[in-house]
């Protein structure tokens, strides 16, 4: 990028990082930016715990025989990998870190509407996370992240109650984040920041918040019933007593399918910002991209039973849910086509955030298209509970959500830390992540289609699957290096990185018009917005005056 426009940063200007020091200034802060950093630290911790479990799973599958861990241990490994990654990393990742940091700044507000509730949400996350860590240290849980009844309620001898309560508490943290975002976006926008001028990152977070608000409580009541059933044998999910385990699946997926959109929508928001900035163009079809986020949130609530095609769902219900699942592809495709159209004739810069955005585009498309395979009744029955499903949702969650998260972290790191990260290393890491990811998960599509079931720790009766499994494990190792690198150079840059100018990417958006790092209340004066979002043509036009916050 053109660094000539960089404004030299005065040394030791007061900002949210150096305003106060000491443990309590962090633990009792109500500054959304500091809470974002608290979240960043805690979700990174859980990311590496979940990653550690993933590594053990991949090592076990290196050979066909079950020789590294016991069967029971393996069940616990994939269960805790799923629970940690879904509920303690992916769901909070972009909203609680980047969203927390950026939502108020992007709309020109001093903070979220309820700063203390924001802090409470982090504490709930920490309490839930602490319970989960305690659960893992004292024996763990083996139900899979889905807690399916009646195994979870009647048969499992592991710590189901504690894990369920941990997820329950973390769920409330997610609800409170969503509540804060909805109210903030409605009530705290700066003068002139109309709905049609909002960055699409905000639209994506608005849609995400709606899902968090309407979905998570259903998960909460479902887990409450599981805990009550397990403790008291109520019979609600127990077929022996007239209960219905399929009801559990309905209630569970009513949250957990939309939860996929909690993970992917914010990443879509991040990618939209990055693509517009590094193509130097206004996003193509702004209102289509905005409303496709809402459409995904709404359709997302109507497709849950496609997880249950082999659970005795009637043909007619399956038909309806299959068609509705196809309907989700429409707003998703609208996004992909609009991003592509934005790239068209753009002046594209290949900086690290953009590399992640490109990775997202390709991997999300593969993940989405294989989702259509799974929405089709015939193919779904064939590949249910195989590695095809595993590969599909990792393309969405890791190839999509984590790529978006990393892209966003690089894009906004200068704003968050006030320092520039090393661009060369970052591009290398992006490349390693992309290669490692595909090497890990593409073989799993093939394995699944050939019939390798998921959740098996021993495949010695089908040794022909070993080659692809070795490739996958090798890929996981590469991927692990790709994830460690950014953590190392981000930490390095906090001390040794070059000080960042206000707007290192010359990007549109209010967050770039304040200092890096920002002051506690974000803006010295309340901004008044008089321009449309993504006004890159104006920004890049040399003769015109660049609009600045007033």
């Amino acid at each position: 990028m053109n660094m000539a426009t960089a404004i030299a940063q005065p040394v030791e200007r007061e900002n949210y990082l150096n305003k106060e020091y000491g443990v309590w200034s962090w633990l009792l802060t109500t500054d959304h930016k500091r809470i974002a950093l608290l979240y960043l630290g805690s979700i990174t911790f859980f990311f590496f715990i979940g990653g550690f479990f993933a590594l053990l799973i991949r090592l076990e599958l290196l050979t066909p025989a079950g020789d590294l861990v016991q069967a029971d241990t393996y069940n616990k490994l994939f269960s805790m990998h799923g629970i940690v990654m879904v509920f303690f990393f992916l769901v909070p990742s972009i909203p609680a870190v980047l969203g927390n940091f950026l939502v108020p700044m992007m709309i020109g507000a001093k903070d979220l509407a309820f700063p203390r509730i924001n802090l409470l949400s982090w504490y709930l996350y920490i309490i839930g996370g602490g319970m989960m860590v305690h659960c893992m240290l004292t024996g763990g849980v083996d139900t899979g992240w889905t807690f399916y009844a009646p195994f979870s309620t009647n048969f499992s001898n592991t710590k189901v109650v504690e894990a369920g309560l941990a997820v329950f508490v973390a769920g409330f943290s997610s609800i409170l984040t969503g509540l804060n975002f909805v109210v903030t976006i409605h009530r705290m926008r700066a003068p002139g920041m109309t709905w049609s001028r909002l960055p699409l990152f905000i639209w994506a977070h608005y849609a995400t918040s709606i899902i968090q608000l309407l979905g998570t409580p259903v998960l909460a009541i479902t887990l409450t019933l599981v805990v009550a059933e397990r403790a008291l044998h109520l019979g609600i999910f127990d077929p022996k007593l007239g209960g219905d385990p399929v009801l559990f699946q309905h209630l569970f997926w009513f949250y957990s399918h939309p939860a996929v959109y909690i993970m992917i929508l914010p990443a879509m928001g991040v990618v939209t910002e990055i693509i517009a900035c590094f193509s130097r163009k206004r996003i193509f079809g702004y209102s289509f991209v905005a409303f496709s986020s809402i459409a995904i949130a709404v359709f997302g609530f109507l497709v849950w039973a496609h997880h249950m095609f082999v659970a005795g769902t009637s043909v007619y219900a399956a038909l309806v849910f299959s068609s509705l699942s196809y309907a989700v592809a429409v707003p998703s495709a609208i996004k992909v086509f609009n991003w592509t159209a934005t790239l068209y004739k753009g002046s594209i810069h290949y900086d690290a955030p953009m590399l992640y955005a490109f990775g997202f585009l390709g991997l999300f498309t593969i993940g989405g298209l294989t989702g259509l395979f799974l929405a089709a009744l015939g193919i779904d029955v064939h590949v249910t509970d195989t590695y095809f499903v595993v590969a599909h949702f990792h393309y969405i969650m890791v190839g999509g959500a984590v790529m978006g998260y990393l892209g966003g972290m690089h894009f906004w790191w200068p704003k968050i830390s006030g320092r520039l990260y090393p661009e060369g290393w970052a591009r290398l890491a992006a490349l390693i992540v992309f290669i490692g990811f595909n090497l890990t998960f593409f073989p799993q599509f093939l394995l699944g289609y050939m019939g390798m079931p998921r959740r098996y720790y021993d495949y010695s009766h089908m040794p022909e699957f070993q080659v692809l499994n070795v490739l996958s494990t090798a890929g996981a190792t590469v991927l692990g290096v790709g994830y460690l690198l950014p953590m190392v150079y981000f930490l390095w840059s906090m001390r040794y990185g070059k000080p960042a100018p206000y707007n290192p990417w010359n990007a549109a958006g209010l967050e770039w018009q304040t200092t890096s790092p920002p002051t506690t209340f974000n803006f010295d004066e309340e901004p008044v917005v008089t321009w449309e979002a993504y006004n890159y043509e104006e920004l890049d036009a040399p003769q015109k005056e660049v609009p600045v916050a007033k």
């Binding site: 509407a113 903030t184 259903v218 479902t222 009550a228």
Partner: protein
């Protein structure tokens, strides 16, 4: 104190002055109206999440009621309808006192405000007391799901000679206890909120300009009442005949 004053001066320079008449205005809001709107929208959004929370239970209830209607009717008959009806009346009265409290806060009638808050809490406690009596009866009759549960030889209303399946009746009682239990938990939280409101009202913190806590606390209380309005007929009045 001097330090404080200079801080205020700095804030004024930044255009973040606290409203002189309203110390309750938080720093990140531009004006009291914005703060009020945010708080009120926040409570409405929170209530939407509560609807979904109870919604999962209502969904389970409706499915099992349709499957096991006779068993549910028999189990429902064993609950004391008059205790439930009294509690319904108690809660409706408490909604009235909540509205009075909001009105009193808006029109700065401090005594009425404190009186209404106290009365609301008393009605809430009466509700919980009656609920406790009801739970005690169920406990004595071995209608609490679990090892000592028994519901043998209970006739299905309107079908002489047909007896309810105890396992299916147990699902009714499980839902009964989870639904009314979670409702009672919300009542207890409501009492906590109102205790806080009472202290604040006692200290004279509410004015016609600033009474948002009374308003949104009241919203919460009304919501908990409304949940009961649905629970009462669904749990107590299945297939009752005079």
């Amino acid at each position: 104190m001097q330090n404080n004053a200079s801080q205020t001066a700095v804030q004024s320079a930044n255009g973040e002055a606290h409203d002189a008449h309203n110390p309750a205005l938080l720093h990140h809001f531009a004006e009291p109206q914005q703060q009020r709107d945010a708080a009120s929208l926040g409570m409405w959004v929170f209530l939407a999440t509560e609807v979904m929370f109870f919604g999962g239970l209502f969904c389970a209830y409706l499915i099992y009621r349709r499957w096991y209607f006779g068993d549910f009717a028999a189990a429902s008959t064993s609950i004391n309808m008059w205790l439930g009806a009294t509690n319904t009346a108690v809660l409706i009265c408490s909604s009235l006192t909540v509205v009075l409290a909001v009105w009193a806060a808006q029109t700065s009638r401090r005594t009425l405000l404190i009186g209404s808050l106290v009365l609301t809490m008393l009605l809430g406690l009466v509700f919980l007391g009656i609920k406790g009596v009801e739970y005690k009866q169920k406990f004595d009759e071995h209608h609490v799901p679990g090892a000592s549960f028994s519901f043998d030889n209970e006739e299905i209303p309107g079908h002489p000679g047909q007896y309810a399946n105890p396992a299916h009746a147990q699902i009714f009682f499980a839902l009964y206890f989870v639904m009314t239990g979670l409702h009672a938990l919300h009542m207890i939280i409501g009492l906590g909120i109102f205790a806080w409101l009472l202290v604040a009202a006692w200290k004279g913190r509410f004015t016609p300009e600033y009474h948002t806590p009374v308003e949104i606390g009241g919203l919460y209380w009304h919501f908990v009442d409304i949940v009961w309005i649905y629970l009462f007929p669904l749990l107590y009045l299945i297939d009752r005949h005079p």
